[in-house]
Structure formats: structure tokens, C-alpha cells
């Protein structure tokens, strides 16, 4: 799958070497083959709208006339009274939950319109997310002060006082972590399976009001008023990456459920798309690389991205929503909202978009937004037993929080430990190139006394004389090799840089290699 090298594969002159180019080409070929295999065995094909150029975006009534009756549950409107609503789908796409600033919390299966629970908590609720796996769904709701977790019947299971004044909640399914950004500028990561707080710290970057989760890596992205995009991980108390992405403040950040695209809406009402792996802009429109951003007039700062890259955003100050195709500027679809739009959420695995507004919530059909072929048991039609099995497997495969890292920073389980290898090589080189210690060179043998000591002393003295000559030769050859290896070699070996060595490196010519010592293999070969 994709690495930072693959991004650079588009520009071959960016490849560090032929080896990397070949590796990238092989990876691209394997990806194409995998995609072909996937498409050949695919059960479903994605949705879409085929319209003639110049045609207006279709309305919901027009869509409903052209699709099967089975699609009708995806289009509904609920008029509710308790304030602007936030909506959240669970990972299977079966359950929809809502919470309103007036204290209304509810969850229901949106296909059958079967209500799971509905309650009035008498506190303003700002954000919500489904936590846990599909077999025992739990709902985390950020009230005005603390965060509460409710079960499928609406019973309050937990009150998380640490997640204080949270304005956004995120669920990391592979790590079983509940992440929260708060108005006080704190970030929290809470393990839902063991109850342990993995990280909880103040970011010291002001209140974190604009945030999104990058699902592929588990990092939290926040947009700052100075136009920076910060990437946070639980192990670092400071942003791991800070990227300037807008000339004005960042008003909204959104990520696709899978992939490397990050959408930012700046104070200049421009939507920009970034590649989080290399922190460079991705082209917004398919017309060309010139369109680095598109202008969204009067856009309210809520963005949602679907599994297939469709982007939904409110327009006309929240009076309507607009759906843009992947990499396009011409809207695919638009829909008026009865109240001012407060939240948007695409349903995973389905061509449905839910929106919450000041007067309730609604759901519209968006052909082509859902991924048609899921993998595993996380899809709307999985049975109870399959979801239970998937939950157990998910718990067994729970990833440790150390794996949460932005792709731009690199590393990962299969990354080559280049630093470690360099260190080991340097140590080996130092061991080989260690100069004979002064002690050894200046050792004087003990003079013996007694019978036949004169002869013995003479022999021992001669032996040591020979040894000292050998050591002197060894020292000379090592110094010469050090000089030829250059400054790098000298540093690695810890040897002294002699004047001779400097001259050699400045002249750039290699001296003739010596004969007969094992150090010859360290002398760099002339190309």
C-alpha cells in the first residue's frame, strides 16, 4: 500500500535512486493488480449520476423517482425542537445517533426507523460518537462539562470527568481509543476497552475548536487561527507536525474515512486539499494542477467527506448543503436545509448523507458516496454473531498507542531502523579502526633479575622492540586509511585528524593503497 515514496513516484526525478524508482514501480504494479483482482471479484459496483453537461444538479425528488423503492429509507426529515443537532453514524452504517444543544440524545436504526433510545439530559450536548464494536454499541456524548457514555438502551454507563468541555469526540476503532479535543485546549485519548487514560495533556495552542481525525493513522488534526494545521499524537505533548495551510485562520478540517487527503477550509473561504503523507497540496479539480483551491462562498465550517471522496459542505450560511465530487468543483448535488446546518455525516457503506440543523435532522441520497464492497463483518448487513466475532477479533488485534504516528514522520513497524544500522556500523568501524592504545605502545617489559636474566632480558627486549615496530606500522596504515576515508571516517573511528589527512581530502586525490593489511577493504574505491 501507499508510502511516501509512492507519492513521489509521480515525479520520477524526485526518486532518490534507481533502486527506489524500481521499488516504487513494483509497488504500483502490485497495487494495480490488486485493484484488478478486487474489481473482478467485487459484488457491488459504486453508485453514480450520469448527467449531460450543463444539466442542473438533481433534486432528491428526481433521484427518488429514478431509484428503487428500497432506497427510500435513506431520505427522511425529522423536525425536532432541541437546538442545533450533531449526528453520527456508527462504523457499520446501521445506527444513527443525534444530540442537540437542548439536551436531546437519541439513537435509532435509520433503515427500519427503529428507535433504540431517546432521552433528555438537561444539558447542552456538543458532540457525539459511537464507541465500541457493533455488537455492544455505546454512545459517547460530550455534554457541556463532562463526557458521558450511554449504552444501546440509553443507560448512562460512564461519566468521563477528565474529558472536560470536549467539543469534538473521535473514535479510533483499531486502537479502541476515544479521542477528544476540548475548548480548554486539552487533548485526551482514553482506552475504552481497559478504561486506561492513554494521554491527557494541554496542547498550549489555544482552544481546539477546529479538529478532525485522520482515520488511517489515528492522529488528530487541528486547525489553528494562525492558519496552521497541527497533527497530534498521544505520545507527544506538542504537535508532531505544524503545517501552514491557509493565509487566514483555518475554519474547518476534514479527512476522508480512508486515504491520505486532508481538506481545509480557510478564513479566505478557500477549500484546499493536502496530502498528509508528504504535506503537499493535492489538486482539487481534475481540470489541472493549477486549481490548488476552490472558493466556497458563504460556507459554514462543517465539512464531511465520504468513503469515495465526495465532499459535503454547507453553503449560503447553512441554508443548504452541497456535495462536490471527488476532485471536482462543480457540485454533484444540493439540498435545502430547514434550519441552519450544524453537522454533516456521510453514512459508511451507503449512498446516504445525514445532516443536523437547528430544527432537527435530515437524510438525503447521494449516489456514489458509499464504498460498495466492504471487507469483513463491518457493514450494514452483518449479523449479530458476525459482529460479536468481529468485536472479539478487534479486541485481540488492538493496536498499541505507539502506532499512532503521522505518515509524514515515517517509521512504523516495518520501517528499516536506519539510525540503528548506522550506529552499529559506526561502532564496528570504530572497533576495527581503534588505534593501538598508548599504553600498549609504550609498554616496557619488566626487567628480571637473577640467573640467566641477562639473556632473558635481552630476548624480551628484542621481542618488544619488534612488537613496537609492528604497532607503529599498524598505526601508520590506520591513519592513512582514516585520511582516505575522509572526515566522516575519522569521526567514526574517533581518530585524530592529522594535517596530512586534511591535505589529502582537499586535493581530492586518492593515494595509492598500501599492500598487505586487512584495512585495505575500508579504503573507498575510486569510481
Amino acid at each position: 500500500f501507499q508510502t511516501t515514496m509512492d507519492v513521489a513516484a509521480e515525479d520520477s526525478d524526485q526518486m532518490p535512486s534507481g533502486f527506489h524508482a524500481k521499488a516504487a514501480a513494483k509497488a504500483a504494479r502490485l497495487r494495480r493488480e490488486a485493484a484488478k483482482l478486487a474489481s473482478a471479484s467485487a459484488l457491488e459496483s459504486p453508485g453514480g449520476i450520469e448527467s449531460r453537461p450543463g444539466e442542473w444538479a438533481p433534486t432528491q425528488s428526481k433521484l427518488l423517482r429514478r431509484v428503487a423503492v428500497a432506497a427510500r429509507p435513506g431520505h427522511f426529515e425529522l423536525s425536532l425542537q432541541y437546538g442545533p443537532y450533531s449526528v453520527a453514524y456508527d462504523t457499520t452504517g446501521r445506527l444513527l445517533a443525534l444530540c442537540g444543544r437542548g439536551g436531546h440524545v437519541a439513537a435509532f436504526e435509520w433503515r427500519q426507523k427503529r428507535l433504540m433510545f431517546e432521552s433528555q439530559v438537561n444539558e447542552p450536548c456538543h458532540a457525539l460518537t459511537w464507541v465500541g464494536a457493533g455488537s455492544t454499541p455505546q454512545l459517547a456524548v460530550a455534554h457541556s462539562n463532562w463526557t458521558y457514555i450511554y449504552d444501546a438502551q440509553g443507560l448512562e454507563l460512564h461519566c468521563l470527568k477528565r474529558l472536560h468541555k470536549a467539543n469534538k469526540l473521535f473514535w479510533l476503532p483499531r486502537h479502541w481509543l476515544l479521542a477528544a479535543c476540548t475548548d480548554t485546549g486539552h487533548l485526551h485519548w482514553q482506552d475504552v476497552s481497559t478504561g486506561q487514560t492513554v494521554a491527557s495533556y494541554c496542547g498550549h495552542h489555544g482552544p481546539l475548536r477546529v479538529s478532525a481525525l485522520h482515520p488511517d493513522s489515528g492522529c488528530v488534526l487541528t486547525g489553528q487561527p494562525n492558519g496552521q494545521l497541527c497533527i497530534w499524537t498521544p505520545l507527544e505533548k506538542r504537535p508532531v507536525v505544524k503545517m501552514l495551510c491557509c493565509p487566514a485562520g483555518v475554519r474547518a478540517v476534514a479527512t476522508a474515512p480512508a486515504g491520505h487527503a486532508v481538506y481545509t477550509l480557510g478564513g479566505d473561504s478557500r477549500l484546499r486539499v493536502w496530502d498528509i503523507r508528504c504535506l503537499r497540496p493535492l489538486s482539487v479539480s481534475d481540470s489541472g494542477a493549477d486549481a490548488a483551491s476552490i472558493r466556497l462562498f458563504d460556507a459554514a465550517p462543517q465539512l464531511a467527506v465520504s468513503q469515495r471522496g465526495l465532499l459535503a459542505c454547507p453553503v449560503r450560511q447553512g441554508a443548504a448543503l452541497m456535495v462536490l465530487p471527488a476532485g471536482g468543483a462543480k457540485p454533484l448535488l444540493s439540498h435545502p436545509s430547514p434550519g441552519r446546518l450544524s453537522d454533516l455525516a456521510f453514512c459508511p457503506w451507503e449512498d446516504v448523507l445525514a445532516f443536523g440543523h437547528a430544527r432537527g435532522l435530515g437524510s438525503v441520497l447521494v449516489p456514489g458516496s458509499g464504498e460498495p464492497n466492504p471487507d469483513g463483518a463491518v457493514h450494514p448487513l452483518s449479523g449479530k454473531r458476525q459482529r460479536r466475532e468481529a468485536e472479539v477479533r478487534g479486541l485481540l488485534d488492538k493496536l498499541p498507542p505507539e502506532t499512532i504516528a503521522p505518515p509524514a514522520v515515517g517509521g512504523g513497524v516495518n520501517a528499516v531502523d536506519a539510525e540503528g544500522i548506522e550506529e552499529a556500523l559506526a561502532r564496528k568501524r570504530a572497533a576495527v579502526m581503534a588505534l593501538p592504545s598508548d599504553e600498549v605502545r609504550q609498554f616496557q617489559p619488566r626487567r628480571r633479575s637473577g640467573k640467566a636474566s641477562g639473556e632473558l632480558n635481552r630476548k624480551v627486549g628484542e621481542r618488544w622492540q619488534r612488537r613496537r615496530m609492528e604497532l607503529r606500522q599498524l598505526l601508520k596504515s590506520k591513519k592513512r586509511v582514516l585520511a582516505e576515508m575522509g572526515d566522516e571516517g575519522a569521526d567514526a573511528a574517533g581518530g585524530r585528524k592529522t594535517k596530512k589527512a586534511k591535505k589529502v581530502s582537499q586535493s581530492g586525490e586518492l593515494t595509492k593503497p598500501a599492500t598487505g593489511t586487512f584495512l585495505d577493504r575500508l579504503i573507498p574505491k575510486a569510481d
Binding site: 500500500f1 459484488l43 453514480g48 444539466e55 431509484v67 486515504g259 471487507d375 450494514p380 513497524v413
Partner: protein, 459 residues
């Protein structure tokens, strides 16, 4: 008018809309007897962090292997005196013989761990035990009464007190081995004697030097080849077609036991008094092919698995170690509070079990693979086990995985003994390095490990 206009608009602007709609029948099983359907999409976008997930699975596999690692199966019951020999039946999986220091020979049923038969075979220590390869006949020899006795075990396995045949020897036999197919057996005493069961006098005799021969074993594949270990720290290679032994390898320490590799005709392994095992390539005897280091006291016995890929060794330090052929670090170590000096260890014929005989008068049964499930496995279980093995191998170099896979708990005295051995070796290496630095490479050349243990090879 309004509805008509709409229809007219539609016909003028036909738009093709496709919405993603799933048929539940494609995702649900048809009957309750079917297995559940599982959707599959190998696209990498749906599998982020797959390397990390695999790594976590490898870690879990390593941990579970240790959780299920319970190799000890049971004890065969008190024999009443120290056991000197164990001999597995060549054709039946569940039978083995044990020889005692007080001359008793017992016949065991391994799965039931029960004694089928017990004989007062000799008046002294049973020095040799071996089975006839085809007949239900076994031989035992003793050095005190200098006899070689043949016993027949019938189908009804009733107690009987007299051997089928008895041969008085004019030397004290120290060990016994039968040929894999011919009616020959080799006795070792003051020399290596080759006897034919139909003849009263030895057919061949080989000797090198004046010291006694401790053990002689036939090569299971090369029928004319014999290997023998002598008391003066030597290993002999004998061809029965020649009058003199082929080679003599003079080692630093005495070899206590020897075993030929059943799958590779030229490989043999010896257990040495210098705490090591050595495997030798008969074609190149100048140095051992591999040095197996790990025991903290003399290695008393060694046996190859029938696959030829694994070794088991019994040691005077009260442990049994399992090795992979060619790897000098042991794969596993078995120890028990009650197990004292282990004198014999044998693999079962299916390479799944190990029988050990120790100085605490007991025979013990162990699993060769400590976390193996005994009993029938479903195909899914086998697939899961194979996947776990593959994952562990893939991530074997990662420090966390390696730490769990390699670690074995040892009792305090054994752990301290291991640290002591490490300290001794470290000191020896440091001294060598210092000497090399002072005296020079030519006077103190670097000698690789495997060249340090052989004094010389004589032809």
C-alpha cells in the same frame, strides 16, 4: 398542469442514476446449517495499518504460545532405583524399555504410563538395552555378570523369568546396539565387538588405544558404518569391512553419548562432558559441524528426532534441552523441581514426545513441542496454528517478539549457573582479545568456535 410539466421535463432530460443498494440475500446465509458469509475486499484503502495489525498478531501468537507451553505430561512411576537406560520400540509407538542400576528391566506402555512387565534381568547395572528390529525380541547386557541376554516378549505380555538365550562374554560390556536390518549387534567394552546372533564368537573387533569403548552405534543408513566413543576422549569411525578403524577424532573432553542422524547418513551428534553437544559431518571430521551450547553441566545423552531435524539432550544439570539441528542455541529447556540428574532422553517414533530417565528413579514423558495441542484438530485450528507460526517467523527479529519467544523461566540455581558460564566465557574472550592486541594477530590468531574443541584427527 404542474405534474405534467414535471414529466415532460423528465423525458427531455433523461438522467441515469445508480444508487448503491444491497440485496440482503447476498450477505446472509441461506440456511442455519451454512456458515456465515464473509465479505472480502482486498483493497489496501480498507486495510490501513495492516503491518501494525500483523505485528500485534505476531506478538499475541508469541504470548499465547507461552501460555499454552505445558510440556510435562507425566511421570511413569517410581522405579525404586536409578535408571540407566531407555530404549524405544522400533516399530510400536507406545512401548519402551527402561534399564535400572539394580539390574531390573521394565517394559512400559507410554500413553497409559503404566508398567506392563518387569524383569530381574541382571545382578548388576543394566548397561545396554536394544530391540531386535523385526522380531519381538530385546537384548540386555550387564558388566558385572558379563552376560548378554535375549528376551522374547509375547503377545500376551505375561511375566516370565528366564531369557530366551544367554551369552557369557569374556569382557565387561558397557553398551549394546543392534543393526537396523541385519542380525548383527555391536557390544562395546574394552573394544568394539561385532557379534552375529548365530555365532558364538565375535565377527569383528576394533580398537584404538588401550582405553575402553563406552558406546558404539550403527549408522541406520550406511550399514557398514559404526561410530564409537572411547574413554580417552576420542570418537572412532569404523567400517565393518575393514580391520582397523577409519578415523579417530581426539576431543578435549569425554563424549558421553552418541547418535546418528536417521535422515542424513553422514551426520552424527555427541554429548560431551564439556557441557556441549557436537554434531559431526563424517566426511569432514576436522572440526564439528555445529557446537550446541546451553547446558551448565555435562551432557549425558543425546538423541535425534526421527525427522533428523531436531535433537534432545539430557544433562547432569537436571535439565533436558531441545535443539534444532544446526542452531547452536537451544529451542527449549525442560526442568522440574523433582527431576534430578537426567541420564537418558529419547524421542518417540512420531517425534512428538520425549521420554527421559533420571537419577530420581523416574521416567518422565514430555511433549516435544511444548504448546502443541494433543488430540484432533479441526482444519481451522490447524490453519490458525500455521498462521501463528508464520507470523512469529516473520517478526522474529523484532525485539519484543524475540524477547517473548526466546525467554524460558529457569530455577534460580540454573539461572545462576547460566550467568556463571556467561561470565567465564566473557572473561576468556576478553583475555584473548587482550593477548591478541599485545602479542599480535600472527601469534594469537583468531580461532572460530568450532575449531576449538578438537585436538586432532588420526587416520
Amino acid at each position: 398542469l404542474f405534474p405534467v410539466l414535471i414529466d415532460q421535463l423528465d423525458t427531455h432530460w433523461p438522467m441515469k442514476v445508480k444508487l448503491l443498494l444491497r440485496n440482503p440475500q447476498d450477505y446472509l446465509r441461506e440456511t442455519a446449517d451454512d456458515i456465515h458469509k464473509l465479505a472480502r475486499n482486498p483493497a489496501p484503502e480498507l486495510h490501513p495499518m495492516s503491518a501494525e495489525t500483523e505485528y500485534v498478531r505476531a506478538l499475541n501468537a508469541a504470548k499465547l504460545e507461552r501460555v499454552f507451553a505445558k510440556p510435562f505430561l507425566g511421570c511413569f512411576g517410581d522405579q525404586g532405583d536409578q535408571l540407566s537406560r531407555v530404549c524405544m520400540h522400533p516399530r510400536a509407538l507406545s512401548l519402551c524399555l527402561s534399564g535400572c542400576v539394580d539390574g531390573r528391566v521394565a517394559f512400559w506402555n507410554i500413553p497409559r504410563r503404566s508398567r506392563v512387565l518387569q524383569l530381574d534381568a541382571h545382578s548388576g547395572c543394566v548397561q545396554g538395552l536394544c530391540w531386535h528390529p523385526e522380531q519381538d525380541l530385546f537384548y540386555s547386557c550387564c558388566d558385572t555378570d558379563r552376560t548378554l541376554k535375549a528376551w522374547r516378549v509375547g503377545d500376551d505380555l505375561t511375566e516370565f523369568s528366564r531369557p530366551v538365550s544367554q551369552r557369557h562374554l569374556d569382557f565387561a560390556p558397557l553398551n549394546l546396539d543392534h543393526h537396523v536390518s541385519k542380525d548383527l549387534f555391536a557390544l562395546s567394552g574394552d573394544a568394539v565387538y561385532l557379534y552375529d546372533s548365530r555365532r558364538s564368537d565375535p565377527v569383528g573387533q576394533w580398537k584404538w588405544g588401550s582405553d575402553s569403548v563406552l558406546q558404539a552405534r550403527f549408522n541406520p543408513t550406511e550399514w557398514h558404518l559404526l561410530a564409537a566413543i572411547t574413554k580417552d576422549n576420542a570418537l572412532l569411525l569404523i567400517d565393518t569391512r575393514q580391520r582397523e578403524p577409519l578415523r579417530r577424532i581426539r576431543c578435549e573432553f569425554r563424549q558421553n553419548a552418541l547418535c546418528w542422524n536417521p535422515q542424513e547418513p553422514f551426520v552424527l551428534a555427541t554429548a560431551s562432558d564439556d557441557y556441549n553437544l557436537y554434531s559431526w559431518d563424517a566426511r569432514r571430521l576436522a572440526s564439528p559441524a555445529c557446537v550446541y551450547r546451553g547446558h551448565t553441566n555435562a551432557a549425558m545423552d543425546v538423541d535425534f528426532a526421527p525427522t533428523g531435524r531436531e535433537l534432545v539432550s539430557a544433562s547432569y544439570d537436571c535439565t533436558v534441552r531441545l535443539w534444532e539441528s544446526g542452531r547452536s542455541q537451544s529451542r527449549d529447556v525442560y526442568h522440574t523441581k523433582r527431576m534430578y540428574r537426567v541420564f537418558a532422553a529419547r524421542y518417540s517414533l512420531d517425534a512428538r514426545f520425549i521420554v527421559t530417565a533420571s537419577a530420581d528413579f523416574n521416567l518422565r514423558l514430555w511433549k516435544a513441542r511444548a504448546s502443541e495441542k494433543l488430540g484432533a484438530s479441526t482444519p481451522r485450528e490447524r490453519a490458525a496454528v500455521n498462521t501463528a507460526e508464520a507470523l512469529k517467523q516473520k517478526y522474529a527479529h523484532h525485539p519484543q517478539v524475540r524477547r517473548i519467544v526466546q525467554h524460558r523461566h529457569l530455577p534460580k540455581r540454573l539461572y545462576q549457573a547460566q550467568l556463571e558460564m556467561k561470565a567465564i566465557r566473557g572473561k576468556q574472550r576478553r583475555k584473548e582479545v587482550n593477548r591478541r592486541e599485545h602479542r599480535g594477530e600472527d601469534k594469537e590468531p583468531f580461532v572460530p568456535e568450532r575449531d576449538r574443541h578438537v585436538r586432532g584427527v588420526d587416520e
